[in-house]
């Protein structure tokens, strides 16, 4: 259907608000400026009319007597009256329809007046046509009917009132009157066409301008975005430059020192320098990997697999990797499931682990006290299933206005963050992209100074056979595969870990202690030999590349001195022939670095070790033995399939995290009163929600804390910590 309104340039309802606004603004400008032109014209016509009257008919005569001609009075009074209202309305009500209407009527009345004042000169009649044409400047067709009617009424009323004046001969004058009207209508028709064309052009202009403005705005935004990106990249480059320079300086500086002063450097110093170089190199590698990752992601080259994998394994691996760092910082890192644990889901395990490592690593990095907890659950709908993971920390938090920015590449919440915590500012950007690539999203809520919760959602694809929670081995060593841990118990073993790397030593100690072993540490072969000859160990985990005395020499020396125990070589050289070299030196086992926890447990378990010294078993080991008799996972005895009870138990588990951290802090600070109160709370609350296992240790803790016995408190506190890791919904 033809849109007549649009055809004639009238506002269509389909127009956007901004186009309508532009059109209205344009019309308003035209109306106001035309009002002003007409107001000026009115005044000019008034003055002109008076001048005309004074020139043509200044006086009227009665014989020799003269007086002012009435035309002059008409020009002054009539012209003034006609001009006054349009001028007033132009001043006080510019741009309104009423003002235009008054001006239109006034203008044709002025024509009438001027025609009379000029003695009806035919030339003055052109004023009518000129006025109508000038009114077209308003582009408002509504003005023509009243103006035309006044012209017609002027003739009509004269014909009725003063019939003798209407062109003398009645019949002829009627035709001439009609002819007059016809000519006016003829002009009106042309003006109307011009007005409609003009309105249509204005409409097109408004649409065009609107589009241009939109594009300009988009362009402006794009430029700003590009500028911002450019600034950010420059900042990032400066940051990267600094970040790269720092480890590079370390590498080059210490390499230089080693080359020049090799003879003057003692072994310990050299070891330290080499460690620094290695650490710096690793840091550089991380940086470069991050940049490459992001480049790949941004270039759309990130390949995503979709394979069946165990989310539990991925989470526990992540926790395993980061637990050492967390332990070094004195914070607790753990995880739990709030839903039945799926055996497998279909996703990209490598990317999911990368994502988790980033997020959990960040959480650990920005948490100086308290804990980091990963809470996972499967959310199933009719059509699909998602793996939802929350990484909750009690760290420094993020300001609300920075929450969006942290996901942008090269941006960190604050420059001071970069200075204090390091990093490239790429981790979260990469993580978000990965989460999206895995069919989900990464979001964050945070409160400055109180902590942050990152929520990871990824598509879980096909979920296979949810594992019953009772089967899940979720105990302090849950980051090690359950089956392995169960079948290879290390509780009776005494193990010496020899490694020059502090981190490696700590990691191995942690893994072994979780298995129940008693662990001693040595930082090089020399110390190891000395120690092993004094204290009997069931096994020695020997790093083969060490300063002072390497693993080969140490093993050879130990064998020479009659050491009969197991020596398991640890080497980063995963080359064929390396194993043989180790065996030749006297090693009885072989593990390649990085050490796989499963492999470690499996190997130690397969050695059929017997305790070297049963007296060396501490009471804590016995305590652990007693714990082993408990189920690995502790459930609430309440019916948690009831939603409300489930909610209450979940709430308790959340609170428990913080309370246990508070207990540890109180114990660290020697605040026995606080510890007593916390123990009291636990004693009451845990039983209420169906975790009776806490009652006895909490009771004991309360008792010893009340008497202020810090030493005695450590036992039940440790039990509580262990139990806490085992409780699930």
């Amino acid at each position: 259907m033809i849109d007549l309104r649009a055809m004639f340039g009238l506002e269509s309802t389909t127009l956007s608000a901004s186009v309508k606004e532009k059109l209205a603004k344009h019309y308003k400008t035209i109306h106001v400026s035309t009002d002003q032109m007409f107001a000026a014209l009115m005044l000019l016509q008034w003055v002109g009319g008076v001048a005309l009257a004074l020139f043509i008919t200044p006086l009227t005569w009665i014989g020799a007597e003269s007086q002012l001609h009435p035309h002059v009075m008409m020009a002054v009074l009539g012209g003034g009256l006609l001009a006054a209202m349009p001028v007033l309305m132009t001043i006080f009500r510019p741009g309104t329809l009423a003002t235009r209407m008054v001006i239109a009527c006034s203008q044709v009345l002025f024509s009438s007046l001027l025609i009379h004042l000029s003695g009806g000169r035919i030339e003055t009649h052109f004023h009518v046509f000129g006025s109508l044409a000038f009114l077209a400047a308003y582009r408002d067709p509504r003005l023509f009917p009243p103006a035309t009617l006044i012209v017609a009424a002027d003739h009509l009323v004269r014909g009725v009132w003063w019939p003798q004046s209407v062109f003398g001969i009645v019949t002829a004058s009627e035709w001439r009157w009609l002819e007059h009207a016809a000519w006016v209508l003829f002009e009106n028709a042309f003006l109307l066409i011009i007005i409609m064309q003009s309105r249509k052009i204005m409409l097109e202009l408004a649409i065009h301008t609107d589009r241009l403005e939109q594009r300009e705005s988009e362009l402006e935004n794009a430029i700003q975005e590009a500028d911002r990106a450019n600034r950010t990249k420059s900042k990032f480059l400066a940051n990267m430059s600094h970040e790269i320079r720092t480890p590079l300086n370390g590498i080059l500086g210490f390499t230089e020192v080693l080359i020049r002063d090799r003879q003057n450097i003692d072994d310990e110093e050299m070891e330290e320098h080499l460690h620094t170089i290695r650490r710096s190199g690793k840091h550089l590698l991380t940086l470069i990997n991050d940049v490459l990752d992001l480049s790949k992601i941004e270039a759309g080259q990130m390949s995503i697999q979709s394979v069946l994998c165990s989310p539990h394994q991925i989470i526990s691996d992540t926790v395993s990797v980061l637990r050492v760092t967390a332990a070094e910082k004195g914070i607790n890192l753990d995880y739990r499931w709030d839903s039945p644990v799926p055996d497998t889901i279909k996703t990209d395990p490598y990317r999911l682990k990368q994502l988790l490592l980033n997020i959990v690593g960040n959480a650990v990095k920005f948490t100086d006290q308290g804990s980091v907890l990963i809470v996972s659950r499967i959310v199933e709908t009719d059509s699909n299933a998602n793996l939802h993971m929350e990484v909750r920390d009690t760290g420094i938090g993020i300001a609300q206005d920075k929450l969006d920015a942290i996901f942008k590449p090269f941006v960190q919440a604050d420059d001071s963050v970069t200075r204090k915590y390091g990093g490239t500012g790429l981790g979260l950007a990469i993580s978000k992209k990965i989460a999206e690539a895995l069919g989900g999203n990464l979001t964050v809520v945070s409160r400055l100074g109180q902590g942050t919760v990152f929520s990871i959602d990824i598509a879980a694809g096909e979920i296979s056979h949810p594992v019953e929670e009772r089967e899940l081995q979720h105990h302090p060593g849950a980051d090690i595969k359950g089956k392995t841990t169960q079948s290879h118990d290390l509780h009776h073993l005494s193990i010496l870990v020899v490694d020059d790397g502090d981190t490696n030593r700590k990691l191995l100690r942690l893994l072994l202690e979780r298995g129940g072993a008693k662990v001693r540490l040595a930082e090089n072969g020399e110390v190891a030999v000395e120690l092993a000859l004094q204290v009997p160990f069931d096994a020695i985990l020997m790093d083969m590349q060490m300063p002072v005395m390497d693993g080969y020499s140490a093993t050879t020396r130990l064998r020479e001195r009659g050491y009969q125990g197991e020596i398991i070589a640890l080497t980063a050289h995963a080359m064929s022939g390396d194993r043989e070299k180790c065996m030749q030196a006297g090693c009885s086992g072989y593990l390649s670095k990085p050490v796989d926890a499963d492999e470690l447990y499996r190997l130690l378990g397969n050695l059929n070790l017997k305790p070297q010294d049963s007296t060396s078993k501490s009471s804590s080991v016995e305590h652990r033995e007693s714990e082993r008799s408990e189920p690995a996972v502790i459930h609430s005895v309440l019916p948690t399939n009831d939603d409300e009870i489930r909610e209450i138990v979940l709430e308790f588990l959340d609170t428990l995290e913080n309370k246990v951290v508070e207990m540890q802090l109180a114990w660290d600070a020697g605040d026995m009163d606080a510890l007593s109160q916390l123990a009291h709370w636990l004693k009451g609350s845990a039983g209420t929600v169906g975790f009776n296992c806490f009652t006895a240790p909490a009771s004991e803790l309360e008792k010893v804390a009340k008497v202020g016995d810090t030493f005695q408190a450590s036992g039940p506190l440790k039990t509580i910590c262990d139990l806490k890791r085992r409780v699930v919904l």
Binding site: W61, G63, A64, S112, L113, R121, Q164, G168
Partner: protein, 230 residues
């Protein structure tokens, strides 16, 4: 804060209505003034060429007299219309009329009267004689009181037309009186006197009229009410 009254819609509506009323009244006043002329019927205009007239009648054809006030601005339109009538009469060959413009001037008239714009235009009209009428004696004789008043006498001295030849006051263009004159020129044998309103200044003051002259003061006064006065 309440809106000032002069900014309210009511104020502007009232103002607009008042303005419309005054504009209509003004228009009516202009029309009334412009379209009301002097009607010569009842002025006792001589139906036969007056015997005492100093003006000379055309013995062979019609004589057309136009009485004018030399300084009347509205009578310029009457001259224009007379020019139109003359143009129409130019086709007549044997019965060419005699055209007389009688300028009524005061007895003490100076050059401003004798060299007025109106008379300058009158003098250039073809075959037209401008006659000075001191103190409006002839005008009074022919009972003409308004500038632009025309008389048409045929060769027998019989009055066939008396009145104005403009459509309104000072308004140029075809008029009823002009058309009647043209009709008479082509057919001078009519016996009925036709007439049309006259629009112009008063040719003389009533006080100038001599007691023995036939125009009665009260008659002039009564005609003034019909629009003689400006």
């Amino acid at each position: 804060m309440p809106q000032p009254f002069f900014q309210t819609k009511l104020f502007w509506n009232v103002l607009l209505a008042t303005w419309g009323l005054f504009a209509s009244a003004g228009w009516f006043w202009v029309m009334q003034y412009s379209l009301t002329g002097t009607v010569t019927v009842g002025l006792d205009v001589p139906t036969r060429w007056p015997e005492g007239s100093t003006l000379e009648k055309n013995p062979t054809g019609p004589t057309i007299l136009m009485f004018v006030h030399p300084r009347c601005p509205c009578s310029i339109a009457s001259l224009r219309e007379l020019e139109r009538v003359q143009a129409a009469a130019s086709s007549l060959k044997d019965r060419q009329p005699k055209w007389l413009i009688i300028a009524a001037v005061p007895s003490n008239a100076d050059s401003k009267w004798r060299e007025s714009r109106l008379l300058s235009q009158a003098k250039v009209l073809p075959n037209t004689e401008v006659v000075w009428d001191l103190a409006g004696v002839e005008a009074q004789r022919y009972k003409a009181i308004t500038s632009g008043d025309v008389r048409f006498y045929n060769e027998h001295g019989q009055l066939l037309f008396s009145g104005g030849i403009t459509t309104s006051r000072g308004h140029e263009g075809a008029s009823k009186g002009g058309d009647q004159l043209i009709a008479l020129l082509s057919d001078g044998n009519r016996s009925m006197v036709t007439t049309a309103p006259v629009f112009g200044c008063q040719l003389y003051q009533i006080s100038d009229v001599a007691p023995n002259q036939s125009l009665k003061a009260h008659e002039v006064a009564s005609k003034h009410e019909e629009g003689l006065n400006p």
